[in-house]
Structure formats: structure tokens, C-alpha cells
Symmetry: C2
């Protein structure tokens, strides 16, 4: 039997150190499901937003203060948890620089309530947390379920989370790459398997809902329609529609290398 | 002489329709400089945040209302301007769906007060606005000056903004690509020219400034150090250090195509 006298000594155990965050907030069912699975695979630290941060993209807090307090949400579970006033990217920065005593072996983000497939990756707080960790060389994975409901059932996807995380811990991650994993909303028996995909070429067409406030001033609610123009059978959207778990390797070197020659032909 | 009886008829002129936004807010000197240059090249609509949005990444407003009001900031200038309560990406969505009567010929964002080179592209509200427009097929460019000061001098870079925008209007933009343009903080005579580059492989190491509030609760300010590990002479960081304007073609298909084979070799 092994006793930890402090968090520092605890972290010197042989278990992989796993950092968990999300963008739906620390009490969201999706992150609780992810914590449950990760507790079986490693020593778990949770540093997650105190409130929902959906659609926050890669926002960081540079003009405001950040609070980050140790909390106990589940008295009977082994993980150590911190609730942070900032964005998902802030959580990763705080965790790696202020809370964890060593570099984590893995960062997992999610499980998001709702899709982060195709172009949604650029708006996603879940994926930004994974990317943030990736920029400092931490193997990282964002998980999302195609069900926006707070009552979403994460049971069917736990098996696949475990498979993917085990493989990531075993194989490591290619340099400069993090994984964007999306799960179809299906019973476990109906999920056909896991496909490695490319990001579908899709975009949103917004439909703003224009209203007038009680003082007579117009305002808008952002709503929109997701348009997938990509007919390819190697995309995340295709895989999800076919009942597969979609895994897209995502990079944060945004250089469009193929366009350098094009732009060099301009008269600059 | 041509008279506009309405904004709709005005937009049927032969001038290119140029949408301008930024992340420092609609009154920032950087966007005022950009408006001045763009007024010489096309018909200008400004839809920009009412308050500073630095570090907002690709955040969008999905759990709150958006206000977007017509404003007059410079009575003697021809542009039409709207001040928006949301993020830079919100501004582009509102502009293209609610304000402009046709798709703009170009979207320009900035000129940002501070660098958006290398990894900063992922945190940048300026670049997210350009990318947002790019996802709907609008040729887009983000401009940034390596001077965070609100008293930054944008005079030396106006000539280069004009050269790049003229070329973009003439040549169009490669599909799925937007430009990330960073200017060194130099006198015009000391700027050596324009280089098309790749994004340097760099990252931030945060140094959180931990303080205690008057009620005894700890909080943090995010500060950090920029670490450029990339010794390449084809990067944006190299070009800027050498006194060049750095132009990086940026893509929003984040798929790490080179890693698909790697991940496919995992036991998934």
C-alpha cells in the first residue's frame, strides 16, 4: 500500500499523471464521465472552468483576474480538483504552471456536450484546451459527444475513450498534433468502431434572431445552420453519420504551406 | 458624380466592398489607420467591437445577446460604421448576415496593437475575425504591428497595407486560406520589404503573478514569456527580426494530414 503525504510525493507514483479540463464547466456530466474513466488509467488532476465556456474558442484572460480554487465535488473519488474562473485555455495554463508539480503525461478535455467536428474545432473551448496543452508538448485529446443535452448519456462512449487514451499513452502523440475525437449519439452496440479522418470542409450560415428589448433597442441572438459541402468518405462528418467514432489529428501550425508559392507570385 | 440614395444602391458601385473589423475596439488607433487606407481602395463598412477583445481567440457569443448599433466616429469620412457588443468573430457574422447587402470583396482586420505572429495566431481576435470571414469564402487579411502601445505609430506601415490589399483584390485568395500580416516596429525607410513565411514553431511559458485580494482570496494575473525555438530563416519571427513585413498564409482546415498514417497504426 502506498500513502501520499503530499501532492508532490503522490505525483511521483508510477501512474500516468492526467490533466482533465473541459468547456462546459467543472460540474457538467461530460467531465464527470471523463474523470470516472481516467481514474482507472492514471492519477487525475481536474482544473476546469467554474462556469460554462462553450464557444470560447482559444480565448485567454489577459485583462482580468483569474481565480482558481481547490474544490471537492465527489468526496469518494480520488481525483484532485480545481475550479477556475477563466477559459479552458486559462485552465491548462494555470494547471501546468501553478498546480501540477510536473508535466502531465496526458491532457484530456471534455467530454463536450455537443459536436466539435469539422469547422467547429475553431470555435471549441474543449479543443482549445487540448491545443493549448499540445503547444507545450503534452499529448492531448479533446472528446465530444454529438448530444448538446445536459442529460446526454455518456455511458456508450466510455469504452472508446479508454481505448483511445490507452493507445495515446502507449504510442505518444506525433509532434505538434492533438486529437479531436467526436462520438456519434448511439447505443454502444450501434457504434461501428473508430475511424481516423480529416476535418470536413463545412461552415455555418448564421440566422440572427433579431429582437427589441423593453427599452426599444434592437439586439440579436446568434443561431445558425451547419452546411457540410464535403462529400468525401474520409471526413469526420461522414464517419459520424455512418456510426463511427471520428478521430481527427489536429495541428496548431496553421501555415498553409501549399499557398506559399501562390502568394510569392504576387507583386509584393 | 455619383449619389447614393440608400446603402443598397451605394453598394452597387464598382468599388470593391471592404469589411473592416478588429479586436482592440472600434475607436482604437489601429483600426482608424486601416480605415483611412481602405477608404482609398474601396467602399468601406466597419463592424467592430465596442470594447477591447484582445486574446478572445475565436470566441463567439452563444449564451448572451448581441447589440450592434450604427455609429458615426468621424463625421468627415465616407465609411459606414457599426459598433458591436460581441467578439471579433461575432462582428464578421453580424456584418455578413445582417448589415451588408452583398458578400464583401475583402475583409481586413486590425491593425492590431501587438504581434500576432507564430503561435499568437491561435489566441488572436484579429486573426479569428479574418479566419471567420475566410470560412465563408471571403478573401481576408489580418494586420498587426509589433507595438502594443495605444500610441503606436501606424504611419510607416500604411504603404505596405495598401500594396498587400491591392494584390489580394487583384489576385484573389487561394481557397481555404487567409493572410496573417505582421509589421515590424520600424520607420518606413527601415522596413526592408515583404516576406512570405511559415509560422515559427514557438510557444508561451506563463508566469502567473499570484496576489491576494482584500478579502484574503488568492487570484492570478496571466503573464508570460514568448519562447521561439525555431531557428529557421523562413519563419515570420525571423522575417520580423530582420526588418521585413511577415506574411503567413493561414488555413482553417486544421487536419494534420501527415499524422493520419501514424494514428492509423494505433490499435484502435
Amino acid at each position: 500500500m502506498y500513502f501520499c503525504r503530499s501532492e508532490t510525493s503522490c505525483m511521483s507514483s508510477n501512474k500516468p499523471l492526467i490533466l482533465i479540463t473541459n468547456d462546459d464547466g467543472i460540474t457538467a456530466p461530460g467531465i464527470r464521465a471523463l474523470i470516472e474513466v481516467m481514474n482507472k488509467l492514471g492519477e487525475v488532476y481536474v482544473v476546469a472552468p467554474s462556469s460554462p465556456q462553450s464557444g470560447m474558442g482559444h480565448a485567454i484572460t489577459i485583462n482580468d483576474t483569474l481565480y482558481c480554487d481547490k474544490v471537492v465535488i465527489d468526496k469518494n473519488a480520488p481525483q484532485v480538483e480545481y475550479s477556475c474562473s477563466g477559459t479552458p485555455a486559462d485552465c491548462v495554463k494555470l494547471a501546468t504552471r501553478e498546480i501540477l508539480k510536473r508535466k502531465p503525461d496526458l491532457c484530456v478535455s471534455g467530454i463536450n456536450h455537443g459536436s466539435n467536428s469539422s469547422i467547429n474545432v475553431i470555435y471549441s473551448g474543449t479543443m482549445s484546451a487540448a491545443i493549448e496543452a499540445g503547444t507545450t508538448g503534452i499529448p492531448s485529446i479533446g472528446f465530444s459527444l454529438l448530444d448538446y443535452s445536459m442529460e446526454a448519456d455518456f455511458g456508450p462512449v466510455k469504452k472508446f475513450v479508454k481505448i483511445i487514451v490507452r493507445q495515446a499513452l502507449q504510442n505518444g502523440m506525433p509532434k505538434g498534433v492533438v486529437l479531436n475525437v467526436n462520438f456519434p449519439k448511439l447505443a454502444e452496440k450501434d457504434i461501428k468502431g473508430i475511424k481516423v479522418c480529416r476535418q470536413a470542409n463545412a461552415h455555418w450560415i448564421e440566422n440572427f434572431d433579431k429582437r427589441t428589448n423593453p427599452l426599444g433597442r434592437d439586439y440579436y441572438w446568434l443561431t445558425g445552420e451547419f452546411i457540410n459541402e464535403d462529400k468525401g468518405e474520409d471526413t469526420d462528418e461522414w464517419a459520424l453519420q455512418q456510426g463511427y467514432v471520428a478521430v481527427v489529428p489536429v495541428q496548431f501550425d496553421l501555415t498553409a504551406y501549399h499557398a506559399i508559392t501562390d502568394i510569392n507570385s504576387w507583386d509584393l
